[in-house]
């Protein structure tokens, strides 16, 4: 065992000290941060002076639409056609058209834009108009806004799934994202680090160190040491990515003073919060407004709660299990390929049967499993060990019956014990075999060689 430990250490340290590892580890979070920040940055850049022209034929909103810090209103007069012409000549964000209508039936309000108006602006305008209409209705019924604020209660329902099958309604997007993200990471790590195992074995073969090595350790120890050492490299890289990404994103957002990750949901929430917050602050004319801040906090905690509903512990546990299980299952096969060939160009024919189940699992996750996470395709692919690490990861956040999960896990464990056995049989023969063209028939014979 101490020998395996020595091998793990060597495999780990030589890889972690490589320049390519350090560069990859540092560069990826920076790129990730850039990708997360850039859209947000662009939105705020373009949103700095968002100006909306308003053609109000109803006259309901006259002098009611007040300019805000980053949202300006320019009232127009005349016909819609004239307004459109006037808007075309400017580079303003949008043209808000409010037709002749009664306060009881506010229909036909239209927003014209040159490009797609951001969801945030749209929600903000909607809220502003809604509030104003409400205000006017209250006034008409004898209430003023101030009284209303006092009696207003804000109730949000926490949605909790009770049934096993799950009524995944409002969490659907976040659920899918969590599952797919896990599956994508597993897919790429199996490939990236599986190929590293293969290369490592080929390197040992071509540099002819292997005979020296196996006069000191068993081939199985050498193979397992390599697989586990590289797994540790993968986990290190993964953890560093999480930590560094977090730091990078935080640092960049702090530096630019913007929110990262403008996902549609977050944008929606931000728009709503901003609109409500502003509304309140203008209504009560105070800068420090606890109610407004509460709104923001509530909306954000809503999104957070959606995540919490997903049972983070289960998802993360499953992720780690399928991550390692999938890696071990495929890793030993990659190792066997490395042992069977003399150089990397010969690996192609043996790579095929390994990559195909992975790629199919990956494609099916998107096309079938995500749409119907409890269907027969999803079920079988999440049970069969070759595809389960990816497909089950997609399914887990939607809720999977315990027996299916346990069966899938048990089969994955059995699967990697089996592939490791096959791989070690091929490995022990292959590493000492040079200059021989290997085919499948030959490989199958190796399984039963006495060494």
């Amino acid at each position: 065992m101490s020998k395996v430990w020595l091998i793990i250490q060597r495999e780990y340290l030589t890889r972690v000290r490589k320049k390519s590892f350090i560069i990859m580890t540092l560069l990826t979070p920076i790129l990730l941060a850039a990708f997360m920040i850039l859209p947000g940055l662009l939105i705020t850049m373009s949103g700095d002076t968002e100006t909306v022209m308003v053609l109000d034929e109803s006259g309901l909103f006259e002098d009611k639409l007040q300019d805000k810090e980053d949202l300006k209103f320019i009232p127009l007069a005349g016909s819609l056609e004239q307004a459109k012409m006037a808007y075309q000549e400017t580079d303003y964000t949008a043209l808000l058209y409010i037709p002749e209508m009664s306060i009881d039936n506010p229909q036909g309000i239209t927003l014209y834009g040159k490009k797609n108006t951001s969801l945030q602006t749209q929600v903000r305008l909607e809220n502003t108009l809604e509030k104003e209409i409400e205000n006017q209705r209250f006034l008409a019924s004898g209430l003023d806004r101030e009284t209303l604020d006092k009696i207003e209660a804000n109730v949000k329902l926490n949605t909790i799934n009770l049934s096993d099958e799950g009524e995944r309604d409002n969490n659907a997007i976040i659920t899918s994202i969590a599952g797919v993200a896990g599956a994508v990471i597993i897919y790429f790590f199996i490939f990236m680090y599986g190929v590293q195992i293969m290369r490592g074995v080929i390197e040992e073969k071509t540099s002819r160190i292997v005979e020296v090595m196996i006069s000191s350790v068993k081939p199985f120890q050498l193979m397992m040491g390599k697989i586990m050492g590289i797994a540790a490299v993968g986990l290190t890289q993964f953890l560093l990515w999480i930590v560094l990404s977090f730091i990078a994103v935080t640092a960049v957002s702090a530096a630019f003073g913007i929110d990262a990750a403008p996902s549609p949901a977050a944008q929606f929430a931000a728009g709503q919060a901003a609109a409500q917050g502003e509304e309140e602050s203008t209504a009560t004319a105070t800068v420090d407004n606890p109610a407004g801040e509460n709104e923001v906090a509530n909306t954000i905690s809503d999104v957070k709660r959606s995540f919490a509903n997903l049972n983070i512990a289960l998802i993360f546990g499953c992720f780690l299990f399928y991550f390692l299980g999938g890696y071990l299952l495929y890793g030993s096969l990659f190792g066997a390929i490395g042992a069977a060939v003399d150089n990397e160009t010969d690996t192609q024919q043996f790579m095929m049967p390994i990559t195909i189940p992975l790629i199919i699992a990956f494609i099916m996750s998107y096309s079938v499993v995500l749409k119907n996470p409890d269907g027969p395709v999803a079920f079988w692919m999440s049970i069969i060990p070759l595809t389960s690490p990816i497909v089950m990861m997609v399914r887990v956040p939607f809720g999977v019956p315990a027996w299916e999960l346990l069966l899938s896990m048990a089969l994955l464990i059995a699967g990697f014990i089996f592939t490791t056995w096959i791989a070690s049989r091929i490995y022990r023969v292959g590493i000492l075999m040079y200059g021989k063209k290997i085919n499948y028939k030959e490989l199958s014979k190796w399984l039963f060689y006495r060494v």
């Binding site: 060597r10 030589t14 040992e204 540099s207 005979e211 020296v212 006069s215 000191s216």
Partner: protein
């Protein structure tokens, strides 16, 4: 006392027999030549001794015990196909390989220090293997083979790849290791290269052992009592005690290979010759291991 005893070892691969009931013993503290042409089965036998593979049948005893995994730390092996991790530093590599043999880190470090001082290669320790010349890599590999001070050192084609100076350096090290009590197995197909070094040999041909024993005894067995004589004069041997195997005359100088018959001694031959010709050189023709091998192989083929 023998350090290694091989008893009826047989090894068969899918389509050929690599070793066929091979038995011999290797005495402790000797330099042992495992000789035979390419493909005779030497490497197969070595891989069984180093426990890289297992024998189909037969037994191997190391220091009187059945060979077991624990013996790995007492065996050093320099394979014919040399190789080290190219992108690893010399020092780290030596440490790694020695630790894998079961040495503690501190012991390994101390021994590495002693060896690099003796070979005067301290400045190599921080270099990657790929930055060293091939000869330097061979030296590093030799050190890696003997660093854990094994009782049995197996060297497969040890001198291939060394220039004459380094080959002599390695030769001296091998003799020193032997004097310190280690047993060394040389495996080579170039029999003449190790003849002078070996105390004992085993000849292997076509998976079978054809001959083994101390070099001196083997040579005594195979010597033919033939002497080469060079001198001036006309040599014409008429005695029935001496048989001329071969004779060349050139401007009054002759060279003849003469075999002693009827239990005569070299002195008898000398006495006989001195009366007739002027002798410049008188040497016993001892068969080389190579000659013996060829003769033996021919014999076994005829049978």
């Amino acid at each position: 006392m023998s350090i290694l005893k091989i008893e009826g070892v047989t090894k068969t691969y899918a389509n050929h027999v690599a070793l066929d009931n091979v038995s011999f013993e290797i005495p402790k503290g000797c330099i042992f030549g495992l000789l035979g042409p390419n493909g005779a089965g030497k490497t197969s036998l070595i891989r069984i001794i180093t426990q890289i593979t297992g024998a189909d049948s037969g037994k191997i005893f190391f220091k009187g015990e059945r060979l077991k995994p624990d013996h790995i730390k007492d065996i050093g092996y320099l394979p014919e196909e040399r190789g080290l991790y190219k992108k690893m530093k010399v020092g780290e590599q030596l440490l790694y390989l020695t630790q894998l043999k079961g040495l503690s880190k501190s012991d390994a470090t101390a021994r590495i220090k002693a060896w690099v001082d003796r070979f005067e290669i301290r400045e190599w320790l921080g270099k990657n293997i790929e930055d060293l010349s091939k000869g330097m890599q061979q030296k590093v590999q030799f050190i890696a083979t003997v660093l854990h001070e094994p009782a049995l050192i197996i060297l497969d084609e040890p001198f291939s790849g060394f220039d004459p100076i380094n080959a002599n350096l390695i030769k001296d090290e091998i003799l020193r290791l032997r004097d310190n009590g280690a047993t060394i197995i040389f495996s080579t197909h170039r029999m003449e290269s190790v003849e002078e070094l070996c105390d004992n040999i085993a000849l292997i041909n076509r998976a079978q052992k054809v001959l083994d024993g101390p070099v001196k005894e083997i040579k005594d067995t195979y010597k033919t009592d033939t002497f080469q004589v060079i001198g001036n004069g006309r040599l014409l041997i008429t005695s029935p005690d001496f048989q001329v195997m071969e004779q060349h005359d050139n401007h009054g100088v002759f060279r003849a290979n003469i075999r002693l018959l009827n239990n005569t001694t070299p002195n008898d031959l000398l006495r006989y010759l001195i009366q007739r010709v002027e002798i410049h050189s008188f040497i016993e023709l001892v068969p080389s291991i190579n000659d013996i091998f060829i003769q033996k192989v021919k014999e076994t083929h005829h049978v």
